[in-house]
Amino acid sequence: MNRPIRILLGLALAAAALAGCGTSSDHQLRLAMSALETPTPTVHSSATPSPKCKHLTASLRPPATMPTAGAMPAGSFMRRIQDRGYLIAGVNAGAYKFGYLNPATGQIEGFEIDLVRELARAIFNDPNRYRLVALSVPQRLPAAQHDRVDIVVDTVTINCYRKTQVDFSTVYYGAQQRVLVPSNSKATSIAAFAGRRVCASAQSAPIDVMEALPRPPKPLGLPQAIDCLVYMQEGRVPAISTDDSILLGFKAQDPNTKIIGASLAPVPYGMAINQAHPEFVRFVNGVLAKLRADGTWRALYDKWLGGIPGSNPVLPAAQYDG
């Protein structure tokens, strides 16, 4: 009887030994899948407090005599820029006609860029001595605060909270919040959109303004204002409300649109400067005063935005408080 048992045992042993030879494991697959499932990090933007302040648009008075271009006073921030050889400005690269990258040239161009050129001219007597850094909205004020750039000329609206973070120049453009609709729209003002969707960039001042209206629309916030134009072209929103500077750029890209109604709110743009450099704020205000007085500001505005129907060259008088 032991022969069958021996054979049986032998077979079982052989089977067990052979079974261990080639086995499958999905370890590799799980590794690959977990790598593929790498999530896109979410970038949080925090809501900003909105304190109250007096003389919102007032800035520092220009010096009694402006320094001569190419001879900035020793020890001043302007002198540091002059010694470096170029001015560094943080700008918008996506606001058509205001500050945008021209794909034909690879250069950022527009009304705000020409203002940067005037600043460079005042420091170096050469408008080409500048470098531009394209900034996203959350990067704008920190770029000035941490001296990554000398000045931010990037459609920054002056408000009381931001004034605690940076110094602002006098207003260099008096934008107005208005409404853009398709040209066949019968609406004549924001009132036509009470309870309907109106697009703006997410967590922006235009949304707050719309929500404060007596018969408010339902604001739709998208990552960037230009995304709203995509939505309007696709018929997904009937209207966009934001700064007219931006809306004019939209109109230039899509002639089948029109700007309607009165201003919903004034939107004063200021150049943002590190609070450690008040002499530079005064210097910039001096340059702006000269551009305003000699007609350069108006000429630059007309060069970039004058040709767009509905353009609104508003430059409020400079206000000083110190």
Partner: protein
């Protein structure tokens, strides 16, 4: 299978006819037991019993061994002609979609608003590969989730392509809204289409994994060993019994049946072990590297897409740089493409140079140099593609080895089973007849 002994069947028929409808099951069992006990009392009776047990044992072997062999063969065939080719299609779908997204962002980025013809050709090639793969995958995993994922891609691909064309048209007018259309297209791709493609890919990969498991399951081998024992032990016992009651050392038919059974068992064991090893090799050297390299390729495209979109967004973008950093971390820390560490390092270095240019306010220069960085990524992706093709060839070779390890067994096992049963019955029958 076996010709019934007329005597046995007459007796059997008598028993079967005897129990009336009123008779209980235990009474019937008692009758059967009585019949067995009656057989055990005489030598011919014992021989009849032995022949029944031997034939049943051999038949059980035949059924189990055929089942085991068939389960292995089915798994190998499914892996070879069904699930692995579909996994390759799913990987192509996934890679083509992510490459399309990276290519179009890079192509539209170029200065002058004119897309390089090569970039456009590559984009359309990617779309063709994706739609072909999607068509092939129609016979893929048949779960509701997999069907829904394929439906998502089929529905959204035209929307994606339309957004890309709107981006292209606006870009040619030098309008910044072109970048917004591209961003919308990219968002559709990364938020919806690529996750769906990943689902399709995972479904096919796990299906192949199931085939591997049943194709290399040790349960099958153990079942085979048990089946061999079930047939062999009665045969050997019968042989001994015959030797004892007769004066011959061997009963030739029973001996031949035993040898044939041992022979086919060894063949099946060796064949199935060979198949199992070949299939494990197909996974280790074929589909495992294929999966890892495909993942590396997809992640590389994702990084390149992020890099290009960051530039397309002209600095007005915080998500894409963050995603780029996350993908870079994963590609660096996991060793998905072990042969490409230094190539990847040079790609990261080139990407970092672009990032620095952008931070230093030289966006135009960065955009000018971006095609060079994209070329590194495309070259790397091409090399990954070659390696994926090589892994695919290794899979095909090993899977074909696995299939040929089993060849012939489908016929040999049933044939030998019938032969062994008939011979064993015959051998015992000769002895039984000696008592008539």
């Amino acid at each position: 299978m076996w010709i019934p002994d007329p005597e046995v069947s007459v007796e059997g028929a008598g028993i079967a006819a005897a129990p009336g409808p009123a008779r209980s099951r235990s009474a019937r069992a008692g009758l059967a037991l009585g019949w067995v006990r009656a057989r055990l009392a005489t030598t011919p009776g014992r021989l009849v019993l032995t022949s029944i047990i031997v034939v049943v044992g051999v038949a059980v072997f035949g059924i189990i061994a055929t089942g085991a062999e068939q389960s292995r063969e089915r798994a190998v065939r499914a892996a070879r002609v069904d699930t692995e080719p579909l996994l390759v299609h799913a990987a192509q779908l996934y890679t083509a979609l992510s490459d399309a997204n990276a290519t179009v962002a890079t192509g539209l980025l170029g200065l002058g608003g004119v897309e390089p013809p090569a970039a456009r050709a590559r984009y359309f090639h990617d779309l063709r590969v994706a739609t072909d793969a999607l068509t092939a995958l129609a016979r893929g995993a048949d779960t509701a989730a997999a069907r829904a994922a394929r439906g998502t891609i089929a529905d959204q691909l035209p929307v994606y392509a339309a957004d890309v064309e709107a981006a292209r048209a606006n870009n040619r007018q030098r309008f910044p809204i072109g970048a917004a259309y591209l961003r919308q297209a990219a968002a559709l791709m990364t938020a919806s289409m690529l996750p769906a493609a990943e689902h399709v890919y995972a479904a096919e990969a796990f299906r192949l994994g199931d085939n591997y498991r049943s194709g290399t399951s040790s349960t099958t081998l153990v079942a085979l060993a048990v089946a061999v024992a079930v047939a062999l032990v009665p045969l050997l016992f019968a042989q001994r019994y015959l030797t004892r009651i007769s004066h011959r050392i061997f009963n030739l038919p029973v001996l031949i049946a035993t040898v044939a059974l041992i022979g086919v068992s060894v063949w099946a064991l060796v064949g199935m072990t060979g198949e199992q090893n070949a299939l494990a090799t197909a996974q280790r050297n074929g589909s495992d590297p294929l999966e890892a390299l495909s993942a590396a390729n997809v992640l590389l495209s994702r990084a390149q897409g992020d890099l290009s979109l960051t530039l397309v967004n002209r600095g007005n973008d915080t998500t894409d740089p963050a995603d780029f950093a996350a993908v870079k971390r994963v590609l660096t820390s996991t060793h998905l493409a072990p042969g490409f560490t230094s190539d990847l390092a040079s790609y990261w270095a080139a990407a970092a140079r672009l990032q620095r240019l952008q931070d230093n306010g030289q966006l135009g220069v960065a955009i000018d140099q971006a095609p060079g960085v994209a070329a590194i990524s495309q070259r790397l992706s091409g090399q990954l593609g070659d390696q994926i093709a090589a892994a695919q060839a290794r899979f095909a070779q090993s899977a074909s080895d696995a299939a040929s390890s089993l060849s012939g067994l489908w016929l040999a096992i049933p044939l030998v089973t019938v032969l062994a049963a008939a011979l064993a019955f015959l051998g015992l029958r000769i002895r039984i007849n000696e008592y008539r």
